[in-house]
């Protein structure tokens, strides 16, 4: 106990004038005294670094098909955010995975240094042990095996040089069915490229192309296809699967085929299409198809199949294969549909990921080799087969038979726990590399920061070991390629680029510098597919039966389990159920009703191979005989955020047959217990109540009738299955806030009125925006206990509204964040002026002024404010990831979305330096400012200055679909939503005459400044598209200016110590 001296006492009372600065210090908790902080200057400062400013590095985060080039935002020695690299193909959006990869980089349970068993050793010892083992292995004539996830480019070459044919690339929820089918149909094991943006009708048999499936730009291409402001039409999506996942929920049409019959349906559709288009080669391959039998087996009607086939043909369709449980046969049938459609190469070609994809059977063979003592050294990369494969495959036992099992994963996993030697490899932000995500396209990876822990580059580990073991490259050196002689991994990468990619030394330095700056080189190649197949032995479709048919899908953010230790992935609500932190069994509402079970009731799921107990989540969008369990949870050997959450799905399945997680027949019975899956009290299903969301106009839906009435019925537009352009504004939504009588004058926004539009039609519910918000704004993660009662801190949430329309359950994903109201409910009520309306039209929140009455939250009709119930802290080294520009909040303080005001101010500041003090920042520079907009892959979010008539956001807000939720409250929100339009084959469409629509059509086009590209060129085909992209390119240039501003002159940052524990 210390005694208070007089000054302290006065300070404690807060009565002297000079105490006031600290009396506001609730936020940093140093109430009365602060420790003296040190300022440690550089001894010799690197030229390109100025403390307190940002440096951007173009690099690549993920390998494999989803490889994505990003710019890493570096400041004061650490990377705090990653954005899309504007030089890479695709629209400028980032998605959730790279951000999760960023958090993975700082995971508190990463392995911090080399270990032998559990004991820490030095790198020299570790590498010597590896080299020694390799040498022994070679001498003993045993194999060196490398097991890793999908890898391309330089690392693929290096692993092949070391392990030869025993460099296995496999992922549990990978693309092996697609790859094997490709081999079967096209004669090459290469993934196709799906040009969704060129399609008018997208038919998926369960491939979750909006949930991380396919290449990294898939969602962006979908966004383009669905964006009436970009293309000349809006693509229609059909979904043939027994359940709808996040991707399926976005589909316009759902054909609930019985489990096990999808391949039959696909084949029947292929044959119908082939008949229509006269594709005899395809018809031959399909053999004799009984469409009626396929339809009846699947529970669909022949008319359904014919309608699909007709839409495919007339709508420039494209077919996508099955998802996690899609068989090789299904994938082959979908390829044949595309071949039968005679789709142009830009819509469907073989230029997708060409890195090798091994099937589970092949992995099984290698495991057998290991089990039989044929492997001397087994190096396991960042995959976790022990966790991911069914218990029946005895992966752990077989792996243990290796002479030396080496894990190079720096994340703790069940497989790593078995390893005799752990040599943690650096993460992608700390490493060099070249990946090849698509045929002809290369991304460079370069270190964006020094390693957080004592880790080394995987390339260096392997090179040193290979040299130490005196290995000869297992790949014949017929063509020029880097060798083990490379000085280090960075040199190897450089050599790879010069020799393998570019094929020569001419202009090498300039090329290298260009690649370092841009991160991207090469151009995607289009490989037109050629049928090269022996006759295929088709099986006749039979529906699975005998209980609930259990399907597994990738968890929406955790994926195949790799991001299970990332709290952002765990705490972001599931798009469909709103659940988080765990597993739940999704069943249909009818099934639950029949069993007398309700949400959160515990059930026991019993399959021939295992039993688990978990809560249920009855929801629309599932056949009554289907249950869905997400993959990726239920870890035991993982990090602290992975262990003990949810159940492990793979235990319920038998062997993975021919590359697909064949659905298991499960017996599901209620245990009578109640579970929690931390849904945070989120309501999912809003059907059949008196007061639905439609009444409340949060998620507004444009019905098929309205579309038809607008002269936009699909029937009126040949080649176009949807017609959103000509939609008149719903009269209920027409009354804009401005038309209301106001007691007070509207607020004065002299220069800027920042605003946003949210296109509900484009939003896929992927939650990338939520994750980006967590990353940018230092949102604390509160954990399952508190999240289960709704205390999570997300500023941005995605509401989901199920609604029955036209015989379908349609879901609307509505991102909801602070609406930055002009006449805000929250501002009036704050007694201490901690929240107010600022001159830029933002609803400001001053954390250090907040006393925590929480009145603002109650007065917010959108319920978007979040309260700090505790002073949350970040386990090290998560604290390094904190954004120093944003204050971290302490207990008792309200917080909310600010449209990333720190970025807004940085942009303004940079513009001031560039253009002078009074210059107004133009729209192009604003567009990507908030983190959520930057992250949104489908471009549902548009940000800008609504005082600027020409700004995109202003134009979009005038769209025929625009609405403001709760606009009758006259809060003058700054966010306009654009209504969702679901395009069903409307049975009533035929009743509408075609007479009136032409005029409306033209008028809409003439007036449609909002439909920017349309206004210029009317209806165009692919050429118009290119033009449109040219426009996009134009704004990309402007982005460049913006990016430059980011890169060179940043200001208005917080002091470096702003992030708690930043140092």
């Amino acid at each position: 106990m210390t005694t208070l001296n007089r000054r302290d006492f006065l300070r404690a009372l807060g009565i002297t004038g000079s105490t006031s600065a600290l009396s506001a210090c609730g936020l940093d908790d140093n109430w009365y005294k602060t420790p003296v902080e040190s300022i440690l200057p550089y001894v010799v400062k690197p030229d390109q670094v100025t403390p307190g400013t940002y440096t951007f590095f173009a690099t690549t985060l993920t390998d494999g098909p989803t490889g994505r080039s990003v710019t890493a935002r570096h400041r004061d020695g650490r990377v705090t955010f990653v954005s899309h690299n504007r030089f890479a193909p695709g629209r400028p959006a980032i998605g959730a995975a790279p951000l999760l990869e960023l958090q993975r980089h700082y995971a508190p349970d990463r392995i911090t240094g080399p270990r032998k068993g559990e004991a820490a050793i030095s790198w020299d010892d570790g590498l010597a042990a590896l080299a020694g083992a390799m040498k022994q292995s070679v001498e003993a004539g045993k194999k060196i095996v490398f097991l890793g996830g999908y890898t391309s480019g330089a690392m693929k070459l290096l692993t092949e040089q070391i392990a030869g044919d025993y460099a296995v690339r496999w992922e549990p929820l990978g693309y092996e069915a697609e790859a094997l089918a490709s081999e079967q149909v096209f004669g090459t094991r290469q993934l196709p490229f799906y040009g969704l943006d060129k399609a008018g009708y997208i038919l998926s048999f369960g491939a979750p192309f909006l949930g991380g499936w396919g290449d990294a730009d898939m969602e962006e291409r979908y966004g383009t296809a669905r964006d009436p402001n970009v293309g000349h039409r809006v693509a229609r999506v059909a979904w043939v699967a027994p359940y709808r996942d996040q991707t399926g929920a976005n589909a316009d049409d759902w054909y609930a085929a019985a489990p096990g019959t999808e391949a039959g349906v696909a084949r029947a559709i292929a044959s119908l299409v082939a008949t229509k288009t006269g594709a005899t080669d395809v018809a031959t391959l399909l053999g004799r198809v009984d469409v009626a039998a396929a339809a009846s087996a699947s529970g669909l009607t022949v008319a359904d199949l014919e309608s699909i086939a007709a839409n495919l043909v007339s709508g420039e369709g494209i077919a996508l294969p099955g998802g996690v449980s899609g068989s090789v046969e299904l994938a082959a049938a979908t390829y044949l549909i595309n071949m039968a459609l005679k789709a142009p190469a830009e819509r469907f070609h073989l230029g997708g990921y060409s890195g090798l994809i091994h099937s589970t059977d092949e992995l099984d063979e290698v495991l057998d080799l290991i089990a039989n003592g044929g492997a001397g050294v087994v190096v396991v990369g960042d995959i976790d087969p022990v966790y991911a494969l069914p218990d029946a495959m005895n992966v752990a036992d077989r792996l243990s038979k290796a002479d030396l099992l080496v894990s190079v994963s720096s994340q703790p996993t069940a497989t790593q726990a078995l390893a005799g030697l752990t040599l943690p490899a650096s993460g992608p932000l700390e490493d060099w590399g070249i990946t090849n995500p698509r045929e002809g396209l290369f991304f460079l990876r370069q270190p964006a920061m020094t390693p957080v822990h004592d880790t080394r580059s995987l390339g260096d580990i392997l090179l040193v070991a290979a040299r130490g073991a005196g290995l000869e490259p297992a790949v014949p050196a017929g063509i020029p390629m880097p060798t083990f002689a490379a000085q280090d991994w960075a040199a190897y990468v450089r050599e790879f680029m010069d020799k393998v990619v570019a094929g020569g030394q001419v202009g090498a330095d300039a090329r290298w510098i260009d690649a370092l700056q841009k991160g991207v080189f090469g151009v995607p190649r289009v490989l037109p597919p050629m049928l090269d197949a022996a006759p295929i032995a088709w099986t006749e479709p039979t529906a699975l039966a005998g209980g609930l048919i259990l399907h597994t899908v990738a968890h929406h953010l955790v994926g195949d389990g790799r991001y299970a230790d990332q709290p952002w992935a765990q705490e972001t609500s599931d798009p469909l159920s709103g659940n988080l932190w765990g597993s739940w069994l999704e069943v249909s509402q009818a099934w639950a009703e029949a069993k007398g079970l309700v949400r959160d009731d515990l059930v026991s799921v019993k399959t021939p191979t295992g039993t688990v107990e978990l809560p249920i989540e009855p929801r629309p969008g599932l056949r009554d005989d289907v249950a869905v369990l997400a993959f990726g949870q239920g870890h035991e050997g993982g990090g602290r955020y992975a262990n003990g959450y949810g159940v492990r799905a793979s235990g319920l399945f038998a062997e993975v047959a021919s590359g697909a997680w064949t659905p298991a027949v499960a017996t599901v019975t209620g245990t009578g217990g109640r579970g929690t899956h931390a849904n945070g009290g989120i309501v999912t299903t809003m059907r059949s109540t008196t007061f639905t969301d439609e009444d409340r106009a949060f998620g507004v839906h444009v019905s098929a009738e309205k579309l038809a009435a607008a002269g936009d019925a699909p029937a009126h537009h040949p080649g176009e299955l949807t017609g959103i352009h000509h939609l008149e504004l719903d009269e209920r939504l027409q009354a804009k806030g401005e038309t209301y009588e106001n007691f007070y004058l509207p607020p004065d926004h002299s220069t800027y009125r920042f605003g946003m539009t949210v296109d509900v039609n484009a939003c896929t519910g992927c939650a990338a925006c939520v994750v980006a918000c967590y990353a940018e704004n230092n949102l604390p993660v509160v954990g399952r206990e508190r999240a289960s009662v709704g205390k999570q801190m997300n500023w941005l949430r995605i509401n989901r509204y199920w609604e029955e329309a036209g015989g379908h359950d349609d879901v609307k994903f509505v991102p909801m964040m602070c609406q930055q109201c002009g006449h805000a409910g929250c501002e009036n009520v704050c007694p201490v002026l901690a929240t107010y309306h600022n001159i830029d039209g933002l609803n400001a929140m001053v954390y250090n002024r907040c006393v925590g009455t929480r009145y603002c939250s109650n007065a917010c009709p959108f319920s978007v404010r979040r309260f700090n119930y505790h002073t949350y802290q970040w386990p090290e080294p998560f604290n390094l990831m904190l954004n120093p520009d944003v204050s971290t909040r302490t207990m008792g303080v309200m917080e909310k979305c600010t449209f990333c005001v720190q970025r807004i101010r940085q942009t303004k500041s940079a513009w001031k330096d560039q253009e002078g003090f009074s210059a107004v920042v133009p729209d192009e520079v604003w567009q990507n400012t908030p983190a959520c907009v930057e992250a949104c892959p489908s471009r549902a979010l548009t940000f800008g200055n609504r005082n600027d008539e020409a700004a995109k956001v202003t134009q979009f807000a005038k769209s025929g679909r625009t609405y403001e939720p709760l606009q009758e409250l006259n809060v003058r929100s700054a966010i306009n939503y654009l209504a969702k339009a679901n395009f069903h084959d409307d049975p009533t469409a035929g009743h509408h005459g075609g007479g009136h629509h032409e005029a409306g059509h033209d008028e809409a086009h003439a007036a449609g400044a909002a439909h920017g590209h349309d206004a210029e060129g009317g209806h165009h085909e692919a050429a118009g598209h290119d033009e449109g992209h040219g426009k996009q390119g134009g704004s990309a240039e402007a982005h460049g200016a913006h990016g430059e501003a980011h890169g060179s002159n940043h200001d208005e940052h917080g002091s470096a110590e702003a992030g708690a524990g930043a140092h």
Binding site: A21, G578, G681, I682, V683, T690, R696, V829, P831, N858
Partner: protein
Amino acid sequence: MQGTENPNRPATFGEANRDIIRVLLKPSMGWAALFAISTAAMIYGGWCWYLQLVYGLGVGGYNPPVMWGIYIVTFVFWVGIGHAGTLISAILFLVRSKWRTGVYRASEAMTVFAVMTALLFPVLHLGRAWQVYWFFPYPNQRYLWMNFKSPLMWDVFAISTYFTVSAVFFFVGLVPDIAVVRDHSTGLVKKIYGVLALGWHGTMRQWHHYMAAYGFFAALAAPLVLSVHSVVSWDFAMAITAGWHSTIFPPYFVAGAIFSGCAMVITLMLPLSYAYNWEKYLNLWHFEQLAKMCLLTSGILTYAYGTEYFVGWYSQNPYEWGIFYWRATGEYAWAFWLMVFCNCVAPLPWYIRSMRTNPAVLFIISIFVNIGMWFERFNIVVSSLAHQFDPAVWTSYWPSEIEWGVMIGSFGWFGFWFLLFLQVLPAVAIAEIKELIQPPTKAALGAVEAK
């Protein structure tokens, strides 16, 4: 109607003095037991609040969008309780109602202590209670002031004004009575009361200005009573939350406050009258009048409930009607129907005279009313928030043990002060009782002697 006069009055001034004063500073065992319970509850509440301060508000049951819970419910409850006292002492004074005399002192004390209790909650419920001084206008180097447009700031002004005015009013009324106590005591006690009595000796100069000032206090307090609960109701009505945003709230809240306050007076005074043997001062005649008051305000409340529903239905506003429909049928329907029963149905027996003159019935119904009024606030605060505009965030709230503890603590705090008051200050206004006694006159004496 039993007449406008108390049927059972003391005979002389002296008798009134002694009857009232005899109970002071003589704690009975029953009193001690109640006092111990109150103190324990108060300490427990303090402990719970300490935990909340240290760990943060997360120890409560809040989850967005329900960010106000039983702290605010109890706050409004206590402010409501605080209304009866000033109503009885000020408004009934202005209209020269005679039955106020017996009950007004104790109910005024109840008011002051209830407002003291209510004043705790705006501090207790803060996320950063240590910054509460930002609520007050004081010059500071930051040039920062408060938002006078905030209903919460109106609340700060209204309730602190109400507390100040009622406390002054209470004390002013007490001065002549403390003088009586002083005169009847000795030693140190006399000195203490002597200081408190401010040297009151009943000279005409004192009485003259005193009565003028008292009248003005009453005149000022009367609109204040009506305004304070109006302002409290604006805490809700000024926020655009459905179920809160309603122009009917001020009269509705004021009626409810009077209703709950009068019921609380019955609850507190009825046992008091028996325990202190104060039949002459507080008897069924008084309680009957209070019961009538309750009946009137219960009727107003019932009408207000009906109006809310009618307007909700008639407007066909999905948010309004949604919340009212859900309130009566949803998760908190039990609380709603409990409220309806306690506030609209339970007082109905009081229409029968024998019911409102039966001590047991009076007491039981008054308890019902107290419970009902607490739940009315619970319904308003919690159920409106739990089903806010956006159906995607609909949630439910149940208080945590910490919140219950703090609420129990508030009852303990009230009990502590009220019980202390009963022991140290005259709980019936002696001077005003004397005004109701026929003053001794020679003429009357002569008449008696003449007989």
